[in-house]
C-alpha cells in the first residue's frame, strides 16, 4: 500500500472540506473494495477520508411507504433490519447474499454504489426498485445514477448520504453468483411497482441496465410464463473466463424468470 494521509471527520461538512482540500482525496466507507485495491497498489490517493465516525450516516428507517438506508449502513444491517425485511424483503435478501459474512459486516451500501462495480448486487436494487440516491448536494434518480463501468453521476467531492427505496407491491432478486467471489455473473431484480414493472440486470453488461422488453411483457401478465422465451441481446455483454456473452444473455432470462416466480409466490 502506498502512503496516504488519513482523516476521520466527525461531520459531513468536515468530510466534504477535507475531500476538497486534498490533492487526490478518496472517501473510505466500509473499505471492502478500496482496501484490497490499495493493497494491490491499483490506486494511490493522497488522502483517505474515513466516513466511519460521522453520526447519522448509518441505519435503516421507514419514510412513509419507503425504506431509507443510510450510506454507511452495513450489508448485514440491511439484511437483518426488521423494517427492510417487512417493507422490501427483496432488498434485505439481496444484502444478505453479498460476499460473505465478514464482508457484509463491513461493506456499506454507499461504498458499493459509489464504486459501481458492474457485477455488484446493490445497483440492481437501486435501478430495479426505482430508488433515489441522496447526496450532500442533491437527489439523483436511481435510473440516472450509474453512467458506465465503475462510473456514476457523482461529481468530484460529492458524498452519498442515503438511498431511498420506495416499497414495491412485490419484488425479488435472483442471482447466479460467481462461486468464489459471490459477485453476480448475472443478477436480476424484478419489481412490480405501483407504476409498472421494472427489471434491472447486473453482472451482464458494463453497468446495470433495464430489460425493457421483459418489463413490457410482465406489465400485462406478471408471471414467469410471460417471459418464457424472453432474453436480451448478447451484443456488448461481458465476456470472461466465467461466462461468454451468450451464456450471460441466457442467464438473464433464467434469473428473471426465477425472480418473477419468487415475487409472484410472495
Amino acid at each position: 500500500m502506498y502512503e496516504f494521509n488519513y482523516h476521520r471527520p466527525g461531520t459531513l461538512e468536515a468530510a466534504a472540506a477535507a475531500l476538497a482540500a486534498a490533492e487526490d482525496g478518496q472517501v473510505l466507507a466500509g473499505g471492502q473494495t478500496l482496501i484490497p485495491t490499495l493493497k494491490q497498489r491499483l490506486a494511490s490517493p493522497s488522502d483517505l477520508i474515513d466516513l466511519g465516525s460521522i453520526a447519522g450516516l448509518d441505519g435503516v428507517r421507514r419514510e412513509g411507504d419507503a425504506i431509507v438506508v443510510g450510506a454507511m449502513t452495513r450489508h448485514a444491517d440491511v439484511a437483518s433490519s426488521p423494517d427492510a425485511r417487512s417493507a422490501i424483503p427483496a432488498l434485505a435478501a439481496l444484502a444478505d447474499g453479498i460476499g460473505d459474512p465478514q464482508v457484509r459486516n463491513c461493506g456499506t451500501i454507499g461504498g458499493s454504489i459509489a464504486n459501481a462495480d458492474p457485477a455488484a448486487d446493490y445497483p440492481a436494487a437501486v435501478v430495479g426498485l426505482g430508488a433515489e440516491v441522496r447526496t450532500d448536494r442533491r437527489t439523483i434518480a436511481g435510473d440516472d445514477f450509474f453512467t458506465g463501468l465503475f462510473e456514476t453521476a457523482l461529481e468530484d467531492g460529492e458524498i452519498i448520504v442515503s438511498v431511498r427505496f420506495p416499497a414495491p407491491r412485490r419484488a425479488a432478486y435472483a442471482k447466479f453468483p460467481n462461486p468464489a467471489s459471490r459477485y453476480a455473473i448475472v443478477g436480476v431484480m424484478v419489481a412490480d411497482t405501483g407504476s409498472g414493472v421494472r427489471v434491472a440486470v447486473t453482472g451482464a453488461g458494463d453497468q446495470v441496465f433495464r430489460a425493457g422488453a421483459m418489463e413490457a411483457a410482465l406489465g400485462g401478465n406478471f408471471s414467469a410464463d410471460a417471459i418464457r422465451d424472453a432474453s436480451v441481446p448478447s451484443d456488448g455483454l461481458n465476456e470472461d473466463l466465467h461466462a461468454s456473452a451468450e451464456y450471460r444473455a441466457h442467464l438473464v432470462g433464467v434469473m428473471a424468470r426465477r425472480a418473477v416466480a419468487a415475487a409472484a409466490a410472495g
Binding site: M1, Y2, E3, F4, N5, Y6, R8, L28, G31, Q32, I35, P36, L38, K39, L48, D50, G52, A76, G99, D100, P101, Q102, V103, N105, C106, A180, S181, R182
Partner: protein, 158 residues
C-alpha cells in the same frame, strides 16, 4: 505520518503509534505480537485473519488499524479463560476440527459470530456461514461438526 490508535484488545487498553496505512492485522501481529490471527491469502478471501471488532467478525487484513480506533477487538487469544479453552475451541479439539490448523483461529472467530446471532444453527446454516473461511486441507466436515458441538456446549448442552 505516524498516528496514535487506541483500542481495547482482549480486554486490555492499548495505544500504538502506527503508520496510517497499517492494517489491523499488522497492528495485532507485529505491534502486539498476537500471532494467533493469521494472514493467509491477504486478499480478503480466506478468513484466516478473522477477529471481532465491536462484536462483529471482520477480516483484519481488510481493515485499517485506524478504522478500529476506539473499538473493542477480540482475537483468538482472548477466548480462553485462565488456560481453560473456550467451549468452541474445546469443540474443535474434541472433534478434530483441524488438520494443519492454519485456518482454525479464523474458523473459531467466525463460528462465534454465527452462534451469537443464531445459537442453534443447522449444519446447512454453518456451511453457508463459512462462505468467507477457507480450509486448504478441505477438512470442512469436522469443522462443521465442531461448530455444531461448540454451539451446543455454549447453549449448556453436553
Amino acid at each position: 505520518m505516524p498516528v496514535n490508535v487506541s483500542m481495547n484488545v482482549n480486554g486490555r487498553a492499548v495505544v500504538e503509534e502506527v503508520e496510517e496505512r497499517t492494517l489491523l492485522v499488522e497492528l495485532l501481529r507485529e505491534n502486539l505480537r498476537l500471532t494467533g490471527t493469521h494472514v493467509g491469502c491477504d486478499t480478503s478471501q480466506c478468513g484466516a485473519c478473522v477477529v471481532h471488532v465491536d462484536g462483529r467478525s471482520v477480516k483484519a487484513c481488510t481493515m485499517l488499524a485506524t478504522q478500529a480506533h476506539g473499538a473493542d477487538v477480540t482475537t483468538i487469544e482472548g477466548l480462553a479463560d485462565n488456560g481453560k479453552l473456550h467451549p468452541m475451541q474445546e469443540a474443535f479439539r474434541e472433534n478434530h476440527g483441524l488438520q494443519c490448523g492454519f485456518c482454525t483461529p479464523g474458523m473459531v472467530m467466525s463460528a462465534l459470530d454465527l452462534v451469537a446471532r443464531n445459537p442453534d444453527p443447522t449444519g446447512g446454516e454453518v456451511r453457508e456461514w463459512l462462505e468467507g473461511n477457507l480450509c486448504r486441507c478441505t477438512g470442512y466436515h469436522n469443522i462443521v461438526k465442531s461448530i455444531l458441538a461448540g454451539a451446543s456446549a455454549m447453549r449448556g448442552g453436553s
